[in-house]
Symmetry: C2
Subunit: 229 residues, 2 copies
């Protein structure tokens, strides 16, 4: 095969990799920033977090564009095709993670319009765990390490349990003081967003497994959100 | 080009089309069923709705599998490539719609464990509108009708407004009677699920536009969930 073509194909895959890496860095930074502005009750900074989400959306469009071009011009097969397919899937998951992080920031602005409630204390720890899962999933993807990816799946159950605890706690706050209902409702949705981020980390992990092995990982994912059971 | 290859390629695209049509039919039927079991407070039937979601997940896997095979064996270009890309994206959206419908059914089981609350009266109308958007988006996709697809996007704003009304109504119920807080919280999440279904209908519409025109539709989507602003 022509060396020039091979080299160029590799550089295109690397470009995709770089875009996804960049997306992941922004998305995890966004979640950290969302929690930070929530804790500091800084609406100005929260608006910047919301606006920053555009950078992730733009990168996802770039990935889609590059994937379509790569498929058309290079017609990859087998593992190469899975590389491209995984890039498409994983970029969609990161885009959703970014959306959820931005929504956490957006709701923190609403919360700043009412008196502070102590009910949100559990949120940063939940977000910290979720972001750890996302970083782990992305590290496993970067290293194409299927085993490491699968460890994320089992840790998602931990996040779900922590979310369930926070959910129940928020309900008791609402029952004790009806004036906190609006604030607690937004906190509930913020917690739910963070729980969903864990699901997307699991998706990234499963796509990494598929990329390496060419088949879906065995076994069921742990049950999700236990509050609706 | 070999007639046999062309014919076979067409039949593979038709197969994809058929799978997506089937997915769409199940997902919209699932949402109807979820609302029906919610209204009838029928937990047995709700469990069947939850279990049925597997059929949609299995079809999405089939679509992904067929897409990868088609990309590897047929190496489609231009419009053909966009056909395959759109199938992949749209199947992912339908899968999410199915998840949300199943979650509505799942939460209705939790609701049946407490006394009926009148606060959920607005839910069926919301779901009806969301399902209309999904059916319209799928019809536009089936007909490859980009203009019809774009009409879905503007109607999604209607759904968002209706959701916002229901959200505020549920908050007042909670404030008036703290015993309804748990039930109303589940209703809030059910309403949010349905609002998200509208977003996925819009995604399907936008992918249909892209499939036909080879570029993203112009203009911003209307703002989403107004309750977090």
């Amino acid at each position: 095969m022509n060396d020039h073509i091979v080299k160029s194909y590799d550089s295109e895959l690397k470009r995709l990799d770089g875009e996804i890496k960049r997306m992941g860095e922004i998305a995890t930074a966004q979640l950290d920033a969302a929690v930070d502005v929530f804790q500091r009750r800084d609406s100005q900074a929260a608006m910047r977090v919301v606006a920053n989400d555009e950078a992730i959306d733009a990168l996802e469009h770039e990935v889609s564009h590059d994937v379509l071009r790569l498929l058309a011009l290079r017609q990859p097969m087998a593992r190469d095709l899975r590389e491209v397919y995984a890039a498409l899937r994983i970029s969609a998951d990161i885009e959703r993670i970014g959306d959820y992080a931005a929504n956490v920031a957006k709701r923190s602005i609403v919360l700043n319009q009412t008196a502070p409630v102590s009910a949100g204390r559990g949120l940063p720890a939940l977000a910290h765990l979720a972001n750890t899962l996302v970083r782990e999933a992305l590290a496993a993807y970067t290293l194409r390490d299927a085993e490491r990816a699968m460890a994320v799946r089992s840790r998602d159950a931990e996040l779900d349990a922590q979310y369930t605890g926070l959910f129940r706690e928020l309900l008791t706050y609402m029952a004790e003081d009806p004036r906190q209902i609006t604030a607690c409702t937004h906190l509930l949705f913020m917690a739910k967003n963070i729980e969903r981020i864990g699901d997307h980390a699991t998706n990234i992990a499963e796509n990494t497994w598929f990329l390496v092995h060419g088949e879906q990982p065995e076994g069921e994912r742990e049950k999700r959100d236990l509050t609706s059971q």
